[in-house]
């Protein structure tokens, strides 16, 4: 092992209680919490300072967003079952469940695109109002996170899955790390974005 390269080992380090990849993903998620925390703080600042703030229900499509919420929840559950399949050495279950998870993610993006399109058709752009500016910023950034997660999951489902034959423990760990990220993206929508933008 040459100097300067962090080895990808599945074993936990005694000093941290995690292996490098797990610690790395948790640190990354902590930075993501700060990123979206800053955006949420901006939202509060803009809302408190605004003379008029529209109700999300009056502008946004709540039934569609609710459906999208449950699609994301389903996607996260499918990732858990995909990981469980690998833990039980059931590669077929992994393939099916990960495919379902990715399809759910894609469906979320398609519905989000449809929602955006409907806004644009009605002349509602980020420049229209402060509410729409923060709405498009936060949901757009979240959609970029979904796209990033789909790329990683797609790789693990497709070409990356060859690793399961050579080193199943290592591959299972990769899916676990990707799953943690996917859960974070899902929870971000369910806990923060959907209630704050659509319901409050």
């Amino acid at each position: 092992m040459s100097a300067g390269i962090v080895p990808y080992v599945v074993e936990e380090r005694p000093d941290t209680g995690f292996n490098n990849a797990t610690l790395g993903i948790w640190l990354f998620l902590a930075s993501e919490v700060m990123l979206f925390g800053a955006l949420f703080s901006s939202y509060i600042l803009l809302r408190v300072g605004a003379a008029h703030w529209p109700s999300g229900a009056s502008i946004l499509n709540i039934p569609l967003a609710t459906f999208n919420t449950f699609i994301l929840v389903g996607s996260s559950i499918a990732v858990v079952f995909a990981w469980a399949g690998l833990k039980e050495n059931n590669f077929g279950q992994f393939k099916k469940c990960m495919a379902v998870s990715m399809l759910c993610g894609l469906a979320f993006l398609v519905l989000k695109t449809f929602e955006y399109k409907m806004k644009f058709v009605h002349g509602l752009f980020p420049s229209t109002s402060t509410f729409l500016a923060i709405y498009f910023t936060m949901t757009g950034l979240h959609a970029l996170h979904i796209i990033g997660g789909l790329i990683v999951n797609g790789y693990l489902w497709g070409p990356g899955s060859k690793m399961f034959k050579e080193d199943p423990h290592h591959f299972t760990h990769r899916v676990e790390i990707a799953g943690i990220y996917w859960h974070f993206v899902d929870l971000l929508w369910v806990i923060l974005l959907f209630p704050v933008l659509y319901l409050l």
Binding site: A30, M34, F81
Partner: protein, 123 residues
């Protein structure tokens, strides 16, 4: 989902995640029902919404708590993250209570300068 040998078994993990997402789904439905269908006043809706957000956050932290036991580094990281986010959330309060350079004062000042036709922005 954890590789730790001391962590719950696969079936237990699936149960934890299923329970977590099930609870979040139910709370989300309650929030939608409260805000969208019952047409409650805005301030009540905001209060209900914030309580539900806090409840969801608590459930998530509770679900992941057992993975953090004995792993002080990640507890420290997320404690620091929490403090930082709390600081960010307090910024609007600080801004709102700042009577000298609050955003409303700045906008009033800009309007006055526009009316005067000067537009002098300091020396």
């Amino acid at each position: 989902m954890s590789a730790n040998t001391n962590s719950p078994s696969t079936s237990q993990m699936v149960g934890i995640y299923s329970r977590l997402f099930g609870l979040l789904s139910v709370i989300t439905l309650v929030g939608i029902a409260a805000v969208y269908f019952f047409h409650i006043p805005v301030w009540v809706a905001m209060a209900v919404g914030l309580v539900l957000i806090a409840l969801k956050g608590t459930i998530v932290v509770d679900s992941f708590k057992q993975f953090m036991v004995g792993r002080n580094i990640i507890v420290m990281v997320f404690t620091m993250t929490g403090i930082f986010v709390l600081g960010l959330l307090l910024l609007p309060v600080l801004n709102h209570s700042d009577r000298l350079v609050g955003t409303q004062d700045i906008s009033k000042q800009m309007q006055m300068e526009t009316k005067e036709g000067g537009g002098h922005h300091g020396d």
